[in-house]
């Protein structure tokens, strides 16, 4: 099961849950799982950047998630 961690600013959509374990083959499946577990979280979660095992993705969707992956939701970034 992958470890999925939410930052503080998403706790309002996860009802205060900071960390969950999810079995998902990729980000698409992960988002579906999370939408089921936290109804109404879709928009906020899909607008986040997602780091999977250290790689930050601004628009993750098809990225594979391993069984022991660490997944972090993050604020989207912008640069100069």
């Amino acid at each position: 099961m992958a470890r999925v961690v939410f930052p503080d600013h998403l706790l309002s959509v996860t009802g205060g849950v900071r960390e969950v374990e999810v079995r998902a083959a990729d980000v698409r499946e992960l988002l579906l799982c999370l939408a089921e577990r936290f109804p109404g979280s879709e928009t906020a979660l899909s607008k986040s950047a997602i780091a999977i095992d250290g790689q930050i993705h601004q628009d993750a969707y098809l990225e594979p998630i391993g069984d022991d992956s660490e997944v972090f939701f993050m604020l989207r970034l912008e640069g100069g």
Binding site: Q58, E78, G80
Partner: protein
Amino acid sequence: MAEATEFKAIGTRPVRPDGVDKVTGRAQFGADLNLPNMLYGKVLRSPHAHARIRRIDLDAARAMPGVHAVVSGADFPGAQHGEIGGEGGGDVADVAKNVMARDKVLYHGHPLAAVAATSQAIAEAALAAIEVEYEVLTPVLDLEAAMAPDAVLVNENCFTKNLPEPAEKPSNIASVMTLARGNVDEGFELADVIVEGEYRIPMAHQGYIEPHACTATVNESGQATVWTCTQGHFALRTQTANILDMSVADLKFIASEIGGGFGGKTVVYLEPVAVMLSTQARRPVKMVMSREEVFRASGPAAGSCAKIRVGAKKDGTITAATAWLAYEAGAFEGAPMGPGAMCVFAPYDLENFRVEGFDVLVNKPKVAAYRAPGAPQSMHAMESALDDLARELNMDPIDLRLKNAVAEGSQAAYGPKFPAIGFRECLEAAKAHPNYQKPVPEGAGRGVAAGFWFNAGMESSAEVHINEDGTVQIIEGSPDIGGSRASMALMAAETLGVPYEKIRVLVGDTEASGFNNVTGGSRTTFATGMAVIQACEDIIAQCKDRAAKTWGVDADQVEWEDGQAIPAPGVNAELKPLTLAEIMKTAARTGGPILGRAALNARGPGAGFSVNFGDLKVDRETGKVDVLSFTAIQDAGKAIHPAYVEGQMQGGAVQGLGWALNEEYIFDGNGVLENPGFLDYRIPVASDMPMIDTQIIEVPNPSHPFGVRGVGETPIVAPLAVAANAVRDAIGRRVHDLPLSPPNVLAAIEEG
């Protein structure tokens, strides 16, 4: 990934493809296009920092001979709330209102009407003829006033986002965030030494030398062409389409050459206005900001206040750290609180920390990105605190950082684990650097600091066409702001095995190139480069296929080497290699023209770390600070064109030093910027600076075929604290606030 590969093209320093045009005056920048029958557009700007617009009367201006269009907020489609995606995006309604105010003006210089006329003089006279009645409101001018519980509101409909419970009443705090790990109270209890400080940095401007400029022409069927200087013509097209409620298909954006941006040219200011004026006038409209308008009403970097507390054991191990970071967003939300908060502790492996961030509205221009947005402000505070800590512990500042530095596998403060990074390598290189071994000159102080930026990937597209003589044309859509055509050509040369001189690069307009996100976030060499490499790989596959057809063998019996198709080892050894030119000679018979392409959202931009140090001398009589020497060390992953990597490092260093020593937005009590020109907003000149020594570290980014990391943002981060720490070293007291201008430094000396 190419490990320890011998590169042929990459790592060399050829003249850039657009070089000759730029040293002869041929290159066309934003303000260089004049069209027949063209009008001049000018903007009416608010004389108040905060006021309600009671009435605007445009009739007198409309009636003037030579005036062909007059617009105000009411002429723009009702701005719908919604996101404009991508860099420089944000809420459509906010961007629209920043372009042209509706019911309220929110900063001095906020546009509220515009005219187009046959000459600049007539346009100015028309602006003077516009009558506006204001109800002047109290301006909110600093973080304290804005965050006070009973503050005057910049926006009555702004409710703080990201609170655990939805906000009940409006506030100037647009959003908040926290990042935390472990238990800071316990961490501080374990500490032998605790340092703390509060650091303030005023708004500063990117200071690109070319003012914003564009020329728009709209025909009777509503098709618009916009020529503009921008870091991203696709992004500006999206923003303009959203604001004007147009289809992107009706907007063709052409990126001119661009005279600097540093993040400030990722947002629309003039473009939607010029399109609107041209639609009304049915003639081309050119708009160019004056330098004063650039200072007053484009997007400077956020002013900030940072409170930092760091505790450590005697051996230097940090046990806990907290940061409270408030950023001035200007008149609309969107200060770089997020990245600032995520960067502040990023270089260090911390068990216990807590970061709080605040995005705060004030009646000042809406801030825009400026190189590593948010990071210079927050990291200036942390890197200053670490300097204090090193002093308390009697440790070398580099050793203190080495003791706590993140490495591959460390959990970054912003969440994930780091892949391969080069921070320790930078620290070790700094320690071993001959400049660091030298004694500090008499009367000077030495400062050390680290810098960090995530770097970005995002969307890029590229096409590669092989010309009939075997030369190569690249078409991509990332404006070349500092030599990226050269790096694209080098990566193509390396991939294809073709000499650099045979490659041409076009930055195509929105109709000629596939979508490319902005040149920003240090993404172009990485992401657009990756598209170019993949498009070249596409070419190679096709060329192998053509060679196979020519030879009558299977495609898997052909290999590509040094720009030619060769028979695979061991088979068909009698076949003579086919060069690109030879393949093209018969291309018509083997399947037609050869065109490679790639479109991608680049994954895995490697994080960029730096370590900078410098010796600065303080004149104890006047408080003036002089930079005697400066050394910038940075991990570039792999430097494609080392001279332009060094240039990024040197330019960023000097921008950072300017911000640290001199640059600041000075507002009067009414919110009027008092220094809107290069005379009073003084950026460093040649005689202010020494040579900037550079050392490029190359810890390859495992996610890029050549190991590239972005290099553009990181260089501006460390110099702020380098300057602050050097002045601390020189005068024996810490000056917490920037800039370290003569009056501020002198005051500190006199207090001490």
